[in-house]
């Protein structure tokens, strides 16, 4: 039996592990990846102060701190199932079975695809896959590629590829259909980019003048839809184009790129062939919450948070006794917010383990999370705060429903 078990060794899980260990708990961290760090490993961008946020360094720092505090890591270990019985959680992995009264799910996010004909060909990968190949494994995903799907994540990764000497021939849209919807409509995409322009990744600053950010946005606005696109760090961003097909005999050989109108409809006869040896699919991230679901945790769909999220409160407690959530499983945000949530979860777990007088620290940690969110440099959903409010409202509604049924129970009523 361990005092606390954490599934997921990303920024949320690692920070929670450090927090629990500092409070004297025996902690086990389980992750199916071969290295600790989660999606943080691949991150690489310049902050407004000119420092580079290096995901590998940040991950190593957190991992070392946890190891020094005696946290027990089981990497390369996939969890199949979790169950609760009499207040004890059982965690089934492919190797061994673990038991704990306090379990944190910090499983992060998965990538949602935008499908394109030919996307099963070898050489087509998610944009996150290309990021990990390039920054973590230091292997080029290819020599020249196209990224399909224009959003904050894909723009940041396009820059990272360019930095590593990989040519990005175009950052462009998927063809609009029932699945891609707004991601295939130039107007909507432009609008979503303008929403986040105030915290545009600082390569805008580094690769041009200090004014480049504004200049870039101006260009987008003034010459709305220049057919050739607008160049950012030498990468053509083509909002008036869409990939209609990825072609190749046994592997990717190129893409068919067509001109689209403002609503995303293809202008017939405009198709051209662009030879590339890899393609990235960028449909955004959604919370990976399958373990919370099999545990029986109630969910709520909050589009602003990126999809279905397990119900939770500010203390990172789920409605299930001894089950906690932190990081992207609770909504898509940056690594710093995830880490702040991880700290809160760790404190809540220590409290659950019987440590007194943590309320002040927990309160401070919740405030710190909000501050981190306000100062976030990269934001995936512009309405994140609305989303956070929605889930808290759902939590309150759930709790008062529960109370009502307890009251009627005690009166002998029907629940």
């Amino acid at each position: 039996m361990d005092n606390a078990i954490i599934i997921g060794a990303g920024p949320a899980g690692l920070t929670a592990a450090v927090t629990c260990a500092e409070k004297g708990l025996d902690v086990v961290v389980i992750d199916e990846y071969m290295r600790a760090g989660g999606r943080l490993l691949g991150q690489l961008y310049e902050e407004p102060n000119g420092n580079w946020w290096n995901g590998i360094k940040e991950s190593t720092k957190l991992y070392k701190k946890a190891v020094d505090l005696g946290v027990n890591f089981h990497l390369n270990t996939a969890v199949n199932n979790i169950e609760n019985s009499n207040g004890i959680w059982t965690i089934y992995t492919e190797r061994e079975t673990f038991h704990t009264p306090s379990l944190l799910l910090a499983t992060g996010a998965a990538e949602a695809p935008v499908p394109v004909p030919g996307w099963t060909l070898p050489g087509v990968m998610s944009v996150g896959a290309a990021q990990v190949m390039t920054n973590v494994h230091r292997v080029k995903p290819g020599e020249r590629g196209v990224i399909i799907g224009v959003n904050v994540l894909s723009a940041a990764i396009a820059m990272e590829l360019q930095l590593a000497g990989v040519e990005v021939a175009s950052l462009t849209l998927p063809k609009t259909n029932q699945m891609t919807q707004d991601a295939g409509k130039p107007k909507e995409v432009l609008d979503s980019l303008l929403h986040v322009s105030h915290m545009a990744p600082s390569p805008f600053v580094r690769y041009g003048s200090k004014l480049m950010k504004n200049d870039f946005m101006k260009k987008l606005g003034v010459n709305f839809y220049p057919k050739k696109g607008v160049k950012m760090w030498d990468i053509p961003i083509q909002l008036r184009k869409a990939v209609t097909k990825i072609y190749g005999e046994d592997e990717v050989e190129g893409v068919t790129l067509a001109t689209i109108n403002a609503d995303g409809e293809v202008v017939s006869g405009s198709e051209e062939h662009i030879p590339v040896d890899f393609v990235c699919i960028a449909g955004g991230l959604y919370p990976l919450a399958e373990l919370a679901a099999v545990a029986g945790c109630p969910f709520y769909l909050v589009e602003e948070l990126g999809g279905y999220v397990p119900l939770h409160n500010e203390r990172m407690e789920s409605p299930l006794e001894g089950l906690y959530v932190a990081g992207n499983i609770t909504g898509i945000e940056g690594a710093k917010v995830a880490a702040a949530q991880g700290r809160t979860a760790g404190l809540s777990m220590a409290h659950h383990a019987g440590m007194d007088e943590l309320d002040g620290e927990i309160k401070n940690s919740i405030e710190w999370t909000e501050q981190t969110r306000d100062n976030a440099h990269i934001q995936f959903h512009p309405e994140i705060e609305t989303g956070r409010k929605k889930i808290l409202q759902q939590w309150d509604a759930y709790q008062s429903n529960k109370k009502r049924s307890v009251v009627s129970n005690s009166r002998g009523g029907i629940t």
């Binding site: 969890v79 199949n80 089934y92 004909p117 030919g118 699945m179 209609t244 399958e290 709520y300």
Partner: protein, 87 residues
């Protein structure tokens, strides 16, 4: 390859056309769409295609006011080999 022939569920090779046609015919939920077509029932457990199956069902059928998980998750969430099943 035409857009309709494009694969949505990579594991079970279910096409866009098959999903669209089934959704239009039965006006069904995402869960029923999955069971009818096998999209999302393959090796990866639906992690790759669930958002798309969800959207097709929401567009074609009566799944618009969904707030609860429409596609159920079931353990094991990662495939287990027979060797490990015995313990």
């Amino acid at each position: 390859m035409k857009e309709d022939e494009m694969i949505i569920c990579r594991c079970e090779e279910v096409s866009y056309e098959e999903l669209k046609t089934t959704a239009a015919k039965y006006k069904c939920s995402a869960r029923e769409l999955k069971l009818r077509t096998r999209a999302g029932m393959g090796y990866c457990g639906g992690r790759s295609c669930r958002t798309m199956v969800d959207k097709i069902a929401a567009t074609s059928a009566n799944d618009r006011n969904r707030t609860c998980v429409s596609l159920k998750y079931q353990p094991p969430i990662r495939p287990i080999s027979f060797k490990n099943l015995g313990g």
